[in-house]
Structure formats: C-alpha cells, structure tokens
Symmetry: C2
Subunit: 205 residues, 2 copies
C-alpha cells in the first residue's frame, strides 16, 4: 500500500510537462507550415515529425492520428466560427430569428470550407470528425436552432443530416469536379433550410 493518500480529485490531470508543451507547439507549428506550403495531402507524418525535431512516437502520442492533427491545426479557425455563432452579431449570433441564424451558420461554414477545405477534409477521414469537439459544438448549435423553429422536430437527427451537406469532402467535389461556386452552394443550403420544417408533415412511409 504505497499509495499516496492525496486524492487529487480536483486536479483531474497533472499539468503538462514543460518539455511536452514545448514539443506540442513545435509539432503544431511545423504541421501548420508544411500543410500550408504544400497542401495537406502532400505532407507525411514522418516529415512533420522531422520538421518539428521530434520522434514519430511523440507525434502520435500527442495527436493520436493524422486526422486529429489536422483538426488540431484548424482549431483556431473553428474557434473563431464558434465564437461567431455563440457571441457574435446577428444574423449569425443571438438576436436574429432561428431560421436566419441557421442560414448564416451554413454560409459561415461554407466560407471556412472555401478557405481551408483540404485541411478540413484531412480531418474527415473515416468519420473521425464526427467525434471531434468542434463538430459537437456545431451540431449542438444547429440542433438548438432547429428545436427553436419547431419544438416537436427530431432535432438531433436533423442536425447531423443537415451538417452532412456542409462536409469538406462534398465541398471539394462540388467545387473541383462540378465547378460549383461558393454562391451556388450557399444558395442550396438556403433552399434546404428555408424548407426544412415548413411543410405540413405527411404520414411516415
């Protein structure tokens, strides 16, 4: 029974060691720079580890997977969007009618995709992003707005369903293979949201 009786309940985790923190910053910096210079699909994890002056094991210990690293690199931009719909000006932020806020949310997300689609797509491998913190925040926001529009609707499922049309994989395809510009995509989102929950329900099939 060499167990110390500290009961460190409050301090859930021990603080990050200083060398660990330093390496985390190095990795994020190197990844951001390389992704930006050559595009995410042309940078391997080995290269990032080398550029950061860190072993591969360290890289994966910190971030777990390539997709998670991409998400972490993007977290700054995601946080900005999040800030916008939580505390920003209407119509994105509080104050506007929920339907307008929902449209504004989609447009903001599409702007983010327009700027960082490849990187966001790198985080969408095998549905990994669906478990990420930024996705959860967006989904919650969308679900709350939907519930505000119609308290009786299945907001949870509808939120995921709507968010699927804002995925980076789809965006890249529509932009590159189908030559659809940002404005058309925003238009489609608007049509979708304008209609959702507006029609009288029919019997389930």
């Amino acid at each position: 029974m060499s167990e110390p009786l500290e009961l460190p309940v409050i301090q859930s985790q021990r603080a990050e060691r200083t060398d660990a923190a330093r390496n985390r910053e190095r990795i994020l910096g190197a990844a951001r720079r390389l992704f930006d210079e050559r595009g995410p699909s042309c940078v391997s994890m080995d290269e990032i580890a080398d550029a950061a002056g860190v072993g591969k094991g360290t890289l994966f210990r910190r971030f777990g997977s390539r997709a998670a690293l991409a998400t972490a690199v993007l977290s700054e931009n995601e946080a900005e969007l999040q800030e916008g719909f939580i505390r920003g000006e209407p119509p994105l932020g509080p104050g506007a009618p929920p339907r307008e806020r929902l449209i504004a949310f989609g447009c903001a997300r599409l702007d983010l995709l327009d700027a960082h689609a490849e990187l966001i797509a790198a985080g969408e491998v095998a549905g990994a992003h669906l478990d990420s913190e930024p996705y959860a925040a967006s989904r919650l926001h969308v679900a709350l707005l939907l519930r505000e529009i119609d308290p009786a609707c299945d907001a949870e499922v509808l939120a995921d369903t709507l968010m699927a049309s804002l995925s980076a994989g789809l965006f890249l395809y529509q932009r590159d293979a189908r030559q659809a510009g940002l404005e058309r995509l925003k238009g489609a989102w608007q049509v979708l949201v304008e209609g959702a929950l507006k029609a009288e329900q029919v019997q389930p099939v």
Copy 2:
C-alpha cells in the same frame, strides 16, 4: 450472374481475355465471401488476392483500389435499387408525383444502407464514390425529380447536397454512436424533402 450484354455497344475495346474474365470472377467471389464473413474492415487486399488464388498486381489491375473493389462487390445490389427507381412500381418507380418518388428513393437507399452500410462505407474513402457509376445514376435521378418539382431550381447542386445525407459514413455514425434507428432517419429524410423547394425563396445573402 452478369449476363453478356446483347449489344456490345461499339466494341470500343477488345473483348476481355478469358483468363482475365475468370480471374475477375474469382476475385469478386473471394471478396464477397471474405467481406461477408469478417466485415470489410477486417479483410486486407492481400488476403483477398490469396483467397482468389491470384497475385496482388492482378487484383489492382482489375479494380484499381480497395474502394472500387467494394463498390464492384455491391454493384448487384446497387443495380437492384436502380432498376427499382427506373422501371419499378410507384411510388419508387414512374407514376407517382416527384416529391413522393424522392421520399421513396431515400427510404430505399436507407434500406440498402441498413443491409450493407459497412461495405458501402468501404467504397466511400476519400470521396471515391462520388465518381462511381452508381452514384452518378442516383444523382441524375434525384436531379431530374428536383427539376420536375421546380424547373427553376439548382437541381445539380441540390442533388449532391441531398445525397450527402444518405452517405454510409453518416449512417454508421447515426446508427452506432447516436443510436438512431432506421425509422428516425427515414423521417429526417422525409422532412428534408417535404420542405425542399416548397418555401418561398428569399434574397440570397
């Protein structure tokens, strides 16, 4: 049972060599069996090649990628769905109003996902499915129905956008992580389609 096509279009390519045809069948058979026995994510391409009694090079020469092989294994089921909405009974087939056909299409697709989600997901890696023949057929079908509902709408983009909510990755997540049953998903699809193009348009933002 892929019966020989009666009209060999223009015979643009030399006919498939008999040994090549035999190997193709062997590969498809082995892949179908292994995927079915252990789940697609637990079967490597090496194993499929071995089980088919074929070299790895042959496997990739035939099918190009793991995603394409998964799609090929599914082609029979996809063709069935396709047959259903082209020549089947209403409301899926011709005869019903376009909106009802669209709802029926989504439900049929969700039934297909319910039966083969893992396999379909294996074909959705890196947006590969968006270039596949079955996807193109479905997208065309959806776009035609949308145009029928509203000739002025942006049917192309809306079709891709709507189809995104029927992706296998999303289905698996909603089913496994969110515990959403088939009926709820069908309900969300219905809400989406009921509303689309019904609301009066507002000014683009």
